[in-house]
């Protein structure tokens, strides 16, 4: 008899344990889960096994190229479970006292020691190195190009970040440079109406007037009046008439690099390197140097009978006298025939007497006379030393010439006189005599300004006041609003785009020092205490 299937059995078209059976979809999914789990765990195991080399996997990005040697070594900069910034909100969470100096800073300072920003700032307001210099932003990222927020975190309330009893030396509240209302003051030189501390009488207006003549109807200064070698750098071009009036522009004297200055070879050869370096960074203008910028029109002539001769620059009166004595002595000795006669033709010397003594005495008198004339020419006249320089006790007069020095000279040059002592005590740079020029090489010690970045601009657009400046006391620095013409948020004025150039704090300021961090005050603080070999440098600091 055949098996009789019940209706229920016939209706059972599905296996009762169907839910226990997996499909290829489930099996594939489970296999892939296992693969991914093993891949993730395996990768981390491999990283762990690789030790130092594997640490790069945890990096949040490459460090800057200057630190690239330690890209794979976290512990060179990081301490375990210690924030890189002491201002981090995680300080307490990770078990550190808020505001305390971090061990990570010592790692930075082993190579980079830097002066404090201000001596009276609170310790807790002083960020740690990593708090400002943020790394892991790529090889080419700058870790010194900080955001304004880093600066205004204190500068928006200076008093709150100073030690007890200290008062703000600078603007108490600055929130941005963008507008005057945000607290950034004008340059101190202008805000406090200071005068140029330099001691060289210089009339910008006169020198920028074609012909450089005080009298509009007077004889103009032409290219024929200056040495041939100097003409080109003062604007002379081939084919130009030598009788053309000299028209000076700013670049005639203000040069970014010596390559532009084109001094005459002989002037350059006699110039101390310390005074005029052959090359500079180009950010600031090179100092005005007499030999390069002034001598062509202002030779230090001292004697009409020696028109081509001039005394060296930077000599104080006694040194000038010595120089002149030497000059005239040599000249007179060469001109006196008796000195050049053979010894045999000279009269037979009487014992104890020099046969040339009368002639020597004669030469001495002549030298003294000539030196007196020359000194008078140099110090009494208004076209040599006193034309530009001040003497002690007078650093404000705009009149050419000296007053005290001529009086002293006229009292005579006898060794017993006061004038002699005055000359004798003279030294190069001694402000007691001819006052050292003291032209500032940096006008903004707390800011940096790169003239080379602005060299495409017309000088007058910022320093237009120079065209009308007749006294050395004028500070020809433009106001800070002039800077804001470009260095401010972008805006449209009458449909024309304006400004938009960088205007963040670090565009002009350095935190650790001023314009030249490696020069002047604080520079020594940059020198690390311990010097290391290449091998030591590449290893973590214990």
């Amino acid at each position: 008899m055949a098996f009789q299937e019940s209706g229920k059995q016939r209706a059972t078209r599905i296996q009762l344990d169907y839910y226990k059976k997996s499909t290829y979809l489930d099996r594939t999914k489970s296999t892939l889960v296992l693969i991914c789990l093993l891949a993730a765990v395996g990768w981390m195991a491999l990283v762990y096994a690789q030790g130092e080399k594997g640490q790069a996997a945890f990096s949040r990005g490459q460090v800057t190229k200057f630190h690239a040697a330690w890209n794979n070594n976290c512990t060179v900069c990081h301490s375990d479970f210690e924030p890189i910034s002491k201002n981090s909100f995680t300080m307490k969470w990770l078990g550190h006292e808020a505001g305390k100096k971090l061990s990570g800073d010592a790692r930075c300072e082993s190579c980079h020691v830097a002066p404090v920003h201000h001596s009276n700032q609170k310790l807790e307001s002083t960020p740690s190195c990593g708090g400002c210099h943020r790394e892991h932003r790529g090889l080419d990222a700058s870790i010194v190009r900080l955001s304004d927020a880093d600066c205004i975190s204190c500068h928006t309330n200076m008093q709150g970040h100073l030690t007890a009893g200290a008062t703000p030396k600078y603007a108490p509240k600055i929130t941005s440079f963008a507008t005057a209302s945000q607290g950034h003051p004008d340059f101190r030189l202008l805000a406090e109406k200071m005068t140029d501390p330099g001691t060289v009488k210089f009339n910008h207006k006169l020198h920028l007037t074609p012909g450089v003549s005080r009298d509009p109807k007077g004889k103009p200064w032409t290219y024929s009046d200056i040495p041939e070698l100097e003409r080109e750098r003062f604007g002379f071009q081939k084919g130009m008439d030598l009788k053309t009036a000299i028209a000076l522009d700013c670049k005639a004297c203000h040069n970014l690099e010596s390559a532009d200055a084109k001094p005459s070879p002989e002037a350059f050869a006699n110039m101390p390197k310390s005074v005029h370096a052959e090359r500079s960074k180009g950010g600031v203008y090179q100092p005005i140097v007499y030999d390069v910028h002034c001598k062509a029109c202002h030779p230090l002539s001292f004697d009409d009978s020696n028109k081509n001769e001039s005394v060296p620059h930077r000599y104080q009166p006694e040194e000038l006298r010595s120089y002149l004595e030497g000059f005239y002595s040599k000249q007179l000795v060469l001109e006196t025939k008796e000195f050049s006669k053979p010894r045999e033709v000279l009269p037979v010397p009487v014992p104890g007497k020099n046969p040339l003594a009368p002639m020597v005495e004669s030469v001495k008198k002549q030298v003294d006379a000539k030196v007196s004339v020359a000194m008078n020419n140099l110090f009494l006249g208004k076209k040599t030393c006193g034309e530009c320089h001040y003497e002690k006790g007078d650093t404000k007069s705009t009149n050419p010439g000296f007053t005290q020095i001529p009086k002293l000279i006229q009292t005579g040059l006898d060794t017993d006189t006061k004038a002699f002592q005055w000359f004798k005590d003279s030294r190069v740079g001694d402000p007691a005599k001819v006052v050292w020029p003291s032209i500032p090489s940096l006008w903004m010690p707390h800011a940096k300004f790169d003239h080379s970045a602005h060299r495409f601009m017309d000088c007058a657009s910022c320093h237009g006041a120079a065209n009308n400046s007749i006294t050395k006391n004028d500070i020809l620095l433009p106001g800070i609003d002039n800077c804001r013409s470009c260095h401010a948020p972008a805006k449209f004025v009458a449909g024309v785009a304006q400004a938009g150039v960088n205007h963040d704090c670090v565009e002009c300021h350095n935190y650790h020092h001023g314009d030249q961090p490696y020069q002047g005050v604080g520079a020594a603080a940059w020198d690390p205490k311990i010097l290391r070999t290449i091998e030591q440098m590449q290893k973590p600091i214990p």
Binding site: A2, E5, G7, R10, L25, L32, R60, H78, T90
Partner: protein, 317 residues
């Protein structure tokens, strides 16, 4: 999970809450970036907060896997979990992007973010597929069966058809595997029936037919085309996969058979139709579930690496 106008009220609280959190996060992020040259990083307070929230969301998202496995646990309805899974998962995207400060970072963080974005993208892809594929299956596959039973049902169909054909053609074979599903007097076949607008698969039980003379063409046709197709489906590479071609072939078969055998031909044609639907069902099931091949395994890797990231971030803060 379907997201329709008709059921949007159930999603609305999640959408609203996610939008509010997102708006607050963006506002905070922008506010914190004022005065900075770069966007706040993951170590800033807002960045860290977004990272913590994003990480917790990732963890919650991952927990839906054990939640689905452990259906007997009474910790909220699975549908509620799924709505939270969808909307919190989408909220995690902007939060974690803000956490990164729009930076990829190093190898680990880049891998993490890539995994996260792929996981999210695969989830969104799965969600999109779920919006229309079930409906498509309901319309096109009335003969739908349980996915894991497709092979079994196909084998059953082939056996039933084989018994029917052998009965009609008077072929006796003890070794036929169809016997394992059979008795001597009845046969059961699945059939698609319509009742009004409702269409579905039903089980039909009928007596075995007596043999029909001159039905050899049926037996040959069955062996050549039908049996392999019913049993192996797409793998048989049969012309019966094409409905129009199948119709033509069955019409041609009818002309070769006596009218008494036409009823059997109709049953066989119906079985082939069911088999085609099951093939369609398998394809739809593949698309409905295969996104999980990406979504789930990468989620596992993501969670593992996320914990490593948290540890390393704390160690080298």
């Amino acid at each position: 999970m379907l997201i329709r106008k008709s059921n949007f009220a159930e999603h609305y609280p999640w959408v609203l809450a996610s939008s509010v959190v997102l708006a607050l996060a963006v506002f905070w992020f922008i506010f914190a970036s004022i005065g900075h040259a770069e966007w706040p990083s993951g170590s800033s307070f807002p960045g860290f907060t977004f990272g913590v929230i994003g990480g917790l969301i990732c963890l919650f998202e991952f927990l839906i896997w054990p939640r689905k496995k452990l259906r007997s646990w009474r910790i909220g309805k699975v549908s509620t979990w799924m709505r939270a899974h969808i909307w919190l998962g989408l909220l995690a995207v902007p939060l974690l992007v803000l956490h990164t400060g729009f930076r990829w970072g190093g190898p680990l963080s880049t891998t993490l973010m890539t995994l996260f974005l792929v996981v999210i993208a695969s989830g969104v892809w799965g969600l999109i597929l779920q919006q229309f594929l079930p409906e498509k299956m309901l319309k096109e596959v009335p003969a739908e069966t349980i996915f894991s039973q497709i092979d079994y049902v196909s084998e059953l169909m082939a056996a039933e058809a084989s018994r029917l054909v052998r009965s009609v053609c008077n072929i006796i074979s003890d070794s036929d595997e169809s016997e394992k599903f059979s008795d001597d007097s009845h046969m059961v076949v699945g059939a698609v029936r319509n009742t009004g607008a409702i269409q579905g698969r039903v089980v039909v039980t009928s007596s075995l037919q007596e043999s029909v003379p001159d039905s050899k063409p049926l037996y040959d046709f069955f062996n050549e085309h039908i049996y392999g197709f019913l049993k192996n489906g797409q793998m048989a590479n049969s012309p019966l996969q094409n409905p129009a071609r199948a119709n033509s072939m069955f019409n041609s078969l009818r002309t070769k058979l006596p009218p008494r055998a036409h009823e059997v031909v109709a049953v066989l044609e119906d079985l082939c139709n069911q088999r085609r639907q099951i093939i369609t069902q398998a394809k739809i099931q593949f698309w409905l579930h295969s996104w999980l091949w990406v979504h789930l395994p990468l989620s596992v890797a993501l969670i593992v690496l996320m914990f490593v990231h948290i540890f390393v971030a704390m160690k080298y803060w």
